[in-house]
Symmetry: C2
């Protein structure tokens, strides 16, 4: 159920903003918080959620921690979307078949 965590993580606007900053380039917690209207601990908490969803990962560098994008999260979401899409297509085809049979 990794895609569920990804959806939950990306649903929050602030957390999405954090994620998009990290997407542009690896950044430290302080740097990310500097460009957002929330406090540094808030960003830290959001990064924790994003990390749990495999959307980002931390790279300890001395006393700072650089956060960078990790593909796994978005991949899980994409795979779930593909599955849903497949089910919807099959259902659509079945619906068409049912109607033509009825005619």
């Amino acid at each position: 159920m990794a895609y569920a965590d990804v959806l939950t993580a990306l649903a929050d606007p602030t957390r999405r903003a954090v994620f998009e900053v990290v997407c542009r380039h690896p950044a430290s917690v302080t740097d990310i918080a500097a460009g957002l209207p929330v406090s540094r601990p808030a960003v830290s908490q959001h990064l924790k959620v994003l990390e749990a969803a495999n959307l980002v990962h931390a790279i300890p560098q001395g006393r700072t921690r650089l956060y960078a994008v990790q593909p796994d999260g978005l991949n899980a979401l994409r795979e779930w979307m593909d599955g849903v899409w497949d089910v919807a297509l099959k259902a659509y085809a079945a619906e068409i078949a049912r109607r033509t049979k009825k005619d």
Copy 2:
């Protein structure tokens, strides 16, 4: 910002369950609620959110309303994901270039 509504809509587990039922085949509100552990009004409210996110659409049939999948919502989400992916790739390439330059 359509993708934001899609993410918010799909983040809730119950609402995702409603959506997946509708993906399998068009269904009425009562039918959907019968297969879920929530009341019928709850399902109705969830369908309202899903409809606002262009994930489903209603087909009035007499006194019932059949809900079916609509591709727009998932497409908006996919396009946003593609954009994010593109940004992440560019950032990764830039990072590589920066490091090789430094060496």
